[in-house]
């Protein structure tokens, strides 16, 4: 399930402040001083020793310092600038074959040792209900190692004034071309994560991500109609160089209807287009419902991939661990065991990957100390694998975890989260313009819109930001009120063509929710522009009293 977690940052903040809460507010320059590795190792050893002494057969310790900055703007006003920090220690153990977890923000050896002992006590309390003991796939200890997101410009060193001015410039650009209202935000995340376990690993990671979403709204008061156009940016796992877009980062959409971005983003240019396109949406032709060939841009298709393939191939869902909340999955073990379940057409290949540079899901190691890796999920249309954690690997006959265990905070327990799951580019040379040439009756969809899928990932409905009619091989006018309905397996089997690697780029979800208590995660999904034949399109226009 993809969703943004918007909560009030604090009672003390004024105005209409709504930003995600990740921790305690701090001054920006303090973000640059990490905790010493030696200090973290000492804390970790205190927990590992206490847990082992209390009877744990396994223990891991995560020492986290999560630093974030959020800037929110509305029209020409900066509504808020918030720096947050959250630090603490989470201790997970296996004792009597069951898990126990306790977290504390008191970062002393005594406190983490006590947390470890409490975790063992919780594990023992739960053990009586355990139907089978936790079975962890082996992980070879890697000793003391470090990994960091590669970047050239640290967001923490960029003056807040420059960032606010960039957002206000974007707002002015949209207001100048047709938007009546404009909001924009900048989310910047730095996770300093230290992991240690009784396997002998001490892993220090420094992870950076950012995203700058906006919404341009055009209002026609006379008719009482309003329409929005959100930004077409993709969140990225990189530094502030993301905003230094050069001509090589710009991509011409099919028919030249707008500019898209790859590897860097020009928010002002996109906002300028958004203001104009939001205004055009007010008079766009309402779609005639029926079957269409859909040509889906990567900035749109990523979310369909996320919901219909990413979540569907999570092994915890397949097994039933999310049954009470996010649901289970139609991609059951018997389908995988058959080795012939046609998830998609022959040209559909999905790869799971923790190593793609610039992606949201790129890490050196997961929260169980497993190195990031790349593996096939769907090969030539056939379901060939899932996403697994250490305690699941044996179920699918694997000797090692896929490295899919993550927690969104030191205070949250780690559990199965998806890696970047991407649709491989087509192998034949094909541009987006060439792709639409033989589409007689189709719709070209760009950007993420509304999205909903059932609890086993069969039936879905997706909207978008921009819809263009394709008629006799040409991208023509904007359409309105468009959403498409499909069944996951039918949809991916209706995939008939995709552009080559020159058009391949990633979209991403910054706030993907799952679990109870709910946790968020960030993940990218790549694809090139892809065609699906004969998909059911509905008209979403409604009249109310």
């Amino acid at each position: 399930m993809e969703r943004r977690t918007f909560l009030k940052v604090s009672a003390a903040a004024g105005g209409t402040l709504l930003v995600p809460v990740f921790g305690n507010a701090i001054a920006a320059e303090e973000l640059l001083n990490p905790l010493s590795v030696q200090f973290k190792k000492t804390l970790a050893d205190a927990a590992l020793n206490a847990a082992t002494k209390a009877g744990a057969s396994y223990c891991d310790v995560r020492i986290g310092r999560y630093l974030n900055q959020f800037i929110t703007t509305r029209d020409t006003n900066v509504e808020n600038i918030v720096n947050t920090e959250s630090s603490g220690v989470g201790v997970r153990v296996v004792a009597n074959g069951a898990y126990g977890f306790v977290a504390t923000n008191v970062m002393t050896a005594d406190a983490v040792a006590e947390a470890a002992r409490q975790a063992v006590a919780i594990a023992r309390a739960n053990a009586r209900l355990q139907s089978e003991p936790v079975q962890l796939a082996p992980v070879k200890g890697v000793g003391e190692v470090a990994w960091a997101t590669p970047f050239t410009k640290d967001w923490r060193t960029v003056p807040v004034k420059d960032k606010a001015e960039m957002l206000i410039a974007a707002n002015k650009a949209a207001l100048g071309t047709g938007a009546t209202f404009m909001t924009s935000m900048l989310f910047q995340v730095n996770q300093q994560k230290y992991f240690a376990s009784t396997d002998g690993s001490y892993i220090d990671q420094d992870i950076h991500r950012l995203w700058s979403p906006f919404t341009a709204t055009a209002v026609d008061k006379a008719s009482g109609k309003f329409r929005t156009r959100d930004g077409l940016s993709s969140p990225a796992g990189m530094g502030y160089e993301f905003f230094d877009a050069q001509p090589r980062h710009k991509v011409r959409a099919a028919g030249g209807v707008t500019t898209l971005y790859h590897g860097a983003y020009d928010i002002v240019e996109d906002a300028r287009a958004a203001g104009r396109q939001a205004r055009e949406k007010l008079t766009a032709k309402s779609v005639e419902p029926g079957k269409y060939d859909l040509v889906l841009s990567p900035e749109h298709l990523f979310l369909t991939i996320h919901e219909s393939v990413g979540h569907a191939t999570e092994l915890d869902r397949v097994l039933g661990y999310e049954a009470n909340y996010a649901g289970t999955s139609f991609a059951t073990l018997d389908k995988w065991q058959s080795k012939k379940f046609k998830y998609g057409s022959d040209i559909v290949n999905f790869v799971a990957d923790r190593t793609t540079p610039g992606s949201l899901g790129a890490v050196g190691y997961d929260d169980e100390g497993v190195p990031g890796k790349r593996w096939d999920i769907i090969k030539d249309g056939v379901l060939v694998n899932y996403q697994a954690t250490r305690d699941q690997a044996h179920i699918i006959g694997e000797k090692a975890s896929h490295g899919c265990s993550f927690a969104d905070s030191w205070s949250s327990v780690q559990f199965q989260r998806m890696p970047n799951v991407s649709l491989a580019a087509g192998t034949k040379k094909l541009t987006p313009d060439e792709l639409v040439k033989d589409v007689k009756k189709g719709i070209y969809i760009l950007g993420r819109g509304s999205y909903s899928i059932d609890q086993q990932r069969y039936n879905f409905q997706f909207g978008g930001q921009l819809f263009y009619e394709i008629k006799d091989g040409k991208v023509t006018q904007q359409l309105g009120d468009v959403a498409y309905h499909a069944n996951t397996q039918e949809f991916w089997n209706a995939c008939t063509a995709m552009c080559d690697e020159r058009d391949w780029r990633m979209g991403g979800s910054f706030f993907d929710g799952k679990g109870q208590p709910s946790q968020i995660s960030a993940v990218s999904h790549g694809s090139s522009t892809t065609r699906f034949n004969g998909i059911n399109v509905i008209n979403t226009a409604r009249k109310i009293a």
Partner: protein
Amino acid sequence: MKLLNQDEARRISDKVMALTKADECRVTISGARKGNVRYARNSVSTAGLVEDTQLAVSVAFGKRQGTAQVNEFDDNSLEKAVRRAEETARLAPENPEFMPAMAKQAFRPSATMHPNAKAFTPEYRAEVAFQSIDAARKKGLVAAGFFADSTGFECIANSNGVFGYQELASLNFTVTTRTEDGRGSGWVNRAAYDPKQFDARAASEIAIEKALRSVEAKALEPGRYTVVLEPSASSDLLNFMFNAFDARQADEGRSFLARKGGGNRLGERLFDGKVNVWADPWDANAPVLPWEQQSMMARQKTDLIRNGQVASLDYDRYWAQKTGKQASADHGNLIMAGGSKSTEQLIAETKKGILVTRTWYIRMVDPQSVLLTGLTRDGTFYIENGQVKHPIKNFRFNESPVVMLNNIDELGKPMLIGDAGSRFRMMIPAMRVRDFNFTSLSDAV
């Protein structure tokens, strides 16, 4: 850190306010002890305990405001928080929409801490899981559930003399029970302020019965049907709609409550005359804090919909000042009037219809009409001549709660809805609604 009592909280807030040289200062202290147990496949999968107390300090120099949060309470930490907030305020640009700190308010206490409320132990939570799992196992079913309890307090204060302190506690429980072959699934949701009102085994039995009755679901053609919506099934739809009860959005032409040609639809009859919805912090069944944390404004009992008419819109302080209206605090709860009939009685009076236990993955499709899409889940049944005839496959719907509240046949007894991420605590009745728009079938169980 232990939870602070009123004197301790006041001492800290006074100390914080004395530390700053800013034009004004606002302080919030909130602490909670939150425990949970999660189970699936008839085993506990995770169990956790988080104890935390946080201090938020916001200061302002003119129209420049800065905020800092810490969760340490020694003198150095309090000073650090104040200095950070001051520093952020000095770096921040002026906000033309800045509103000065709220004047002194009178807060009438609400019953957010029930006398029977207590902090639960890991053993109690494990027992909840055991009762639920044991009941499922005895019927050959598989249970996946989540129990969470919270005990804590909130304190607000500002340099104009606002002060409020109140304790609060609640529990939430959900369980999905499925047949081993995956052909049947049932769900139940329970929330309570008084732990004595919660019975894990009794609640689990409802999910079990639904799971057993939902196997061999038949396909029904999509279309418009009379539905009996259990309280949990409609709460998410209503939540989306009430999030749009903002006066500014309406005045600016950006919501379904915008009037064609300008202005808003306050006072217009947009819903069936049976629809009455209000907010009331002192409601005995769904009490919430008598203040809004953000503005520190005292909440009032407020009608939102009266006899089908839009009775009020939410005015934040800036928009109220700009438009010459009365500002209102954000509502903490939403209570919808119902009748005395149970869901079973509504079913008994339904000639043909569909019973919906739960709705899922609801998203806004078009804010102009509040068109929402989503699915039914974990217990969807066909009703004929007052009886549940057989289970049916789940549906996707595309429907607006505005339309839904115009098509009400009858309302049942309101029920407290569990915490599902809504900003409102909700008491919602079961309802029978005509012409609910199901647009496609889902194979999901």
